[in-house]
Symmetry: C2
Subunit: 336 residues, 2 copies
């Protein structure tokens, strides 16, 4: 069996639902042959690793370790879902602080054990903040750390396809930028539904015998921002297959395949200062390189507003002492 | 994205852990583009389908339905993990009867809705009996219904690789035949550990600086027969990734890729009468075609003993009225 890379890929949080799916999908899709599974929960980790051994993947080199140094050492690629989940009675704010602490330690661990890592994908929420915190403490160049940012866009694509009763791939140009969560900026320009522009559809043009009102479009946007919550309602657990799968697609992008979705990128310029958020990005062996999205004035205003929200979260994380003051970032990470 | 088949593949039990992993893996590995997910638990099914929509698979046509006729209609391939799990206080015997009933209904549903199905893979336990029951009631030719039978062999391969500290792929020729479960026949002949025959290893030849005693070999065989139980102990849940993955490998075998592991086959000849069990099998567009395994007298005796055990289970299922008397099988299924 051939794989896109035989270099070491470390999956953090590999005893969990996302991480164990990730390890399987990396190998099963021919993406990576050498996967190291890490989790502090050694027993569940061994169980997840055993499952993969029972898959009998040809030519795969799957290892597991509950030691973070061993797991990261020599690793070219790191994908991490290893944050804490939100627990009963915990606010979003508590989650940010706890997971930013985990991200800080991850950055330090990367700096110590795999300072030449080519690409790090951070999945755990709030990803914009955990990704940023990982980057700052890792010392890596800014293009080498990214966050999973595609799911809002694929949820939008899927919701539009379901509304019109057409194949999902026939809906193109769905892009949400800025922060992940309710403050995301859903870009309307560029969306095509089986070749019909969204504005034309909203203007009365039917697709597959169906029209769409402004109210229905608002509902769909609302559905997208609540996409993760909907999964929890339906399945009784949070998403794990889609975060895993899209992270594998991101890695494939870095390994040379086309990747069409937004990625979390570090921005410091063009009116965005020291922030990580979903942007149009080209993935390649150089990592994730962002560009400014094209959009209407409304789209761009939404992006600015989403940015402002992230700046507040970033500054709270600085206030917590988890991120250094902005003036010290280039000392902690000379690449920034 | 290209797929090995664009024909309809129906996954039964798709709201569950195995089934939802199956649907994802079928598409993610480029095996099938058209996947219909069925489960009687509609809410969880919708959640699992939504997760796959959020993956944004290019050119995939993923549908879901809680209606069995709609799900099977027009289906070329069926993979089912849709049995009942063993519950607290339930004996293995209770499980057999309940799941054989489910398998009978599945056979009837296949006969009504997709009588031209090319290949059906039955995963749920006891697979030898549920697969057999599905076959008899489906009316399909015997090569068109198979059961997942690889996991005992991949567990053996993995256990030997771990013992010698070598890559799993360097252990070849691991084969367990006959029934799945504690009555399986572990074939010793043909096993090579990095090029060293198992008997040579047992005779004192070291591999990677390690030897293996007869007691250690017995422990490994014991570990293999308890492989599924071990996963439950470690993960707190039964295997789902490896059954899913190996079923996808089986389908890929039918679609033209090499498949090296045993498959569940219907036998009626060579001293085996009207039974389904793990055998050496060639997978192709003709389905699963079995051949007699080569082995030592001990190996063959173990296979006969495993067969006798399955005959008893089959006869109990006839006694329950779930399978017809042997003399009526060719009436229920003229292909047998």
């Amino acid at each position: 069996m051939s794989y896109l890379t035989n270099e070491k890929v470390t999956v953090l949080g590999a005893a969990g639902a996302i991480g164990s799916n990730l390890a399987q999908t990396l190998v099963a899709s021919g993406t990576a042959s050498q996967v190291c599974m890490y989790d502090p929960f050694a027993q569940g980790l061994e169980g997840a690793a055993e499952e993969l051994y029972h898959c009998g993947f040809p030519d795969a080199d799957i290892t597991w370790s509950a030691d973070i140094a061993e797991s990261l050492s020599g690793s070219s690629y790191v994908i991490t879902s290893g944050g804490a989940p939100r627990k009963e009675g915990m606010t979003r704010e508590d989650l940010r602080r706890d997971n930013a602490e985990i991200a800080k330690q991850l950055g330090i661990d990367i700096k110590e054990n795999c300072p030449d890592a080519k690409f790090v994908i951070v999945i755990f929420n709030p990803a914009d903040i955990t990704g940023l915190t990982t980057l700052v403490h890792s010392g890596l160049p800014s293009t080498r750390v990214s966050t999973l940012a595609a799911l809002d866009s694929t949820r939008l694509q899927s919701a539009l396809a379901q509304h019109f009763g057409i194949l999902q791939s026939k809906v193109t140009g769905c892009r949400t930028y800025g922060g992940h969560g309710e403050q995301m900026a859903v870009f309307q320009g560029g969306i095509q539904i089986d070749g019909v522009g969204l504005s034309d559809a909203l203007g009365g043009q039917e697709v597959n015998g169906k029209g769409m009102s402004e109210d229905e479009w608002k509902d769909i946007q609302e559905k997208v921002t609540q996409g993760g919550t909907r999964i929890i309602q339906l399945r009784g657990r949070s998403s794990f297959q889609s975060p895993s799968q899209q992270s594998v697609f991101m890695l494939r992008g870095v390994l040379g395949e086309p990747y069409e979705w937004p990625s979390g990128c570090y921005l410091n310029g063009d009116g965005f200062e020291k922030i990580m958020m979903a942007m149009p990005a080209r993935l390649s062996d150089a990592g994730a390189e962002w560009s400014l999205p094209e959009g209407s004035d409304t789209d761009i205003a939404a992006l600015r507003s989403s940015y402002d929200h992230l700046v507040a979260l970033r500054d709270q994380t600085i206030g917590d002492g988890i991120l250094p003051p902005l003036s010290e970032w280039s000392i902690v990470n000379p690449n920034l």
